[in-house]
Amino acid sequence: MSDQLTDAVVTVNDVQIGIVPGSLRYSEGLGERRILPVSEGGGRVSQVFATNQETAIGRVRFALRSTPENIDDVRQWQQNRNRNVIQIQSEDGLGNRLVRSFTQAAVTNDPEVPFSPDGTIELEWGSNTAV
């Protein structure tokens, strides 16, 4: 039995970054799925499985504190376009590990930089399907 994962080591382009606690989430990018019914007559119904390829994009979201270093990093990641690599590594208290890599990642939103004591920079990424 595993424990709930609550934090992770996040690296962008092999540089470890510090994120706002609880802000990290991701989607594998395997795409939304549908079960489509098929009538075979005589009351029998089978199914067809379909994947929506339009949604087969990896997604990563996390937030950063508004520090000069983080602001410069965000700008550089945006300038890299879709040539970033994100890696997420996490481990529960029992030693069970999770590792995911998101290649050809790009910042897909236009992040706002807040100037306030508790402001954060919200980042949304799109990438290849997670491996």
Partner: protein, 156 residues
């Protein structure tokens, strides 16, 4: 002094390439330090010079004691004399440091500073090391890289 040297990795190192993919580095290119790295470069040169000087002095003392005790010292063979002036190998440098008065850990730590903060080592000749990728480097490969760097840029 050579401007570049290449070291093959025995353990591949995964890294994020500038194309946005994950690649497995098979070699590291070492570059000569620039003036920005004068402090760690000078520290290494001084440590190496003192280490090799002490090793040479110990060898001389050992030869003198042997002669005083009536022993004979074999003259070096022709092929051994031709070795003088040739570049030392990475293994030779690390081995020599290991038996000298030099603090080998301090030497390796200084090489690490050059790799991480001054970009003297490039994975696959294109990407600088970060603390993350450095942690993936095997100890054996790191020592080979350090020895090659010292032999190429500090002893030349």
């Amino acid at each position: 002094m050579e401007s570049e040297s290449r070291v093959a990795l025995t353990t591949l190192v995964a890294y994020a390439s500038p194309k946005g993919t994950v690649e497995q580095a098979t070699f590291v290119v070492l570059r000569a330090p620039t003036s920005d790295a004068f402090a760690p470069a000078a520290k290494l040169r001084q440590m190496l010079t003192r280490a090799f000087t002490s090793v040479a002095r110990e060898n001389q003392l050992a030869r003198a004691r042997l002669v005083a005790a009536g022993g004979e010292i074999a003259e070096p063979r022709a092929e051994e004399q031709d070795v003088a002036g040739e570049k030392l190998s990475a293994t030779d440098v690390i081995s020599a440091l290991s038996v000298s008065d030099a603090d080998l850990a301090d030497v390796l730590a200084t090489v690490r500073v050059l790799m991480l903060e001054h970009g003297v080592a490039l994975l696959d000749g294109e990407v600088k090391f970060t603390p993350t990728t450095f942690s993936r480097l095997s100890l054996s490969d790191f020592q080979t890289i350090a020895g090659e760097y010292l032999a190429t840029f500090c002893l030349a």
